[in-house]
Symmetry: C2
Subunit: 260 residues, 2 copies
């Protein structure tokens, strides 16, 4: 599409951009797809698409069913992911405090990695086993500015308002806040060091996020990660102040441990 075209033309290895686009498409769709369908969707020439697919099959990143001539993701992607999980320092260090918080407060906690104003990816998760819990999966992507992490990124990223507003407009919420409300909440997050989403993103669910800076807090740089706590709003209310402090503390000490 147009987005693919941009990343491709700039690069000196456009095949890689195409390959990544194919992998992501196959991941998103989930259903086995034929060459033509993939090519059409991505705006690729069918023959080129075929070569890309063949190369990916050779690498075991894509599986090919010779009978139906359909392609799907293959298990090779798992191997890469495992390697990443094993070596990511944030992930290693985050798991213990996330577990502790989840257990102590009976909530779900997440570690996320921030990709600018585009999106965040969940890289670690812990759930208190007791009863039902909201939960995502490791690897999930969310728009950067949504929910508590969104306010967190806005509050500590030093982005100009002109960059924030257009992105804000496109977000989906259960109970969307107004632009002015949101700005006020961002300002509050900046002052308190923790961002809160009280039922806006998902009705009845409170989300809290604290920024993590490599090597400790540094207001001149943008936080690369965040710790997130998710709980039922009603059940959380009395504990909220304590949880905010606990999350902020965990995020701070985690940041100080990062990068030696």
């Amino acid at each position: 599409m147009t987005e693919l075209g941009d990343t491709m033309k700039a690069s000196k290895a456009p095949a890689i951009a195409r390959a990544a686009a194919v992998l992501r498409l196959l991941g998103k769709r989930g259903v086995p797809m034929g060459v033509q369908a993939i090519a059409r969707e991505l705006g690729l020439v069918p023959s080129t698409c075929l070569y890309v697919l063949r190369a990916l099959v050779a690498e075991e990143l894509v599986a090919f069913d010779a009978d139906t001539k359909r392609y799907t993701l293959d298990a090779g992607v798992l191997t890469l992911a495992r390697a990443w999980l094993r070596r990511d320092q944030f992930n290693d260090l985050a798991q213990a405090p996330l577990d502790r918080l989840a257990r102590e407060f009976g909530i779900t906690t997440l570690g996320v990695q921030v990709f600018g104003l585009d999106h965040i990816i969940v890289t670690a998760m812990s759930q208190s086993g007791q009863n039902f819990q909201l939960s995502t999966q490791v690897g999930s992507r969310f728009p950067a500015l949504v929910s508590a992490t969104g306010r967190c990124i806005a509050a500590f990223g030093n982005y100009p308002v002109s960059e924030l507003e257009p992105r804000f407009e496109h977000l989906r919420w259960d109970e969307a806040p107004s632009w002015q409300e949101w700005l006020a909440q961002v300002e509050e997050a900046r002052l308190s060091g923790v961002a809160v989403d009280a039922g806006h993103y998902i009705a009845g669910v409170t989300v809290i996020a604290a920024p993590v800076w490599k090597g400790g807090r540094d207001d001149t740089r943008r936080p690369g990660h965040a710790l997130v706590a998710i709980g039922i709003g009603a059940a959380l209310r009395s504990e909220l102040p304590r949880l905010k402090e606990a999350l902020k503390g965990a995020a701070r000490s985690l940041g100080e441990q990062l990068e030696g």
Copy 2:
């Protein structure tokens, strides 16, 4: 290197083979690496390697530290893996019986995907929480012919002996069986429908593997998956016959459910 050269020259999209090789290298090493080091290791020209890396960074599959000029895997690989896990039919269906077996026998169970005679990848795992357990991680790769899965693949894959022997020679075992012993064990697996490795691969540990055929057993095709049970040899002895039957049954019924 030579292997990379082969897959590359055959392909009409060599950049993808290079990209995959870079990703795997970064995954294997775990440490951040510079352009030159990567290029040297893979037998690439530094400039080409640089372009590959830049493309991968643009796709968020590789992270670049501008200060140290070092590259590592990035979280994007996780997103792909998650997409794969969510829609792999074998994985979905395998988890429940794996959990059941793990709990009932107090062992670790695995679901694996077979890649010909090359290797297998662990795609699902279940551990009985009680005490210490041998365990791998989802995403791990093993040589195809090693341990119980190896005998399983040899027994049901209809491979000519001439293809098996050279690969067999290169395997690493705690207590390597002789070629003749191994062939006898393979034959036994063929007759009984389950393969057993009694302390050969890892001393003191018994591994059992049963083949899974899409759409039910079909001796004209090769099994694409297998269920594996891992337990301490001594603790398992009395239960072994029952476990073998249980694993075989689970593998059969799983195969029948696959592919609609």
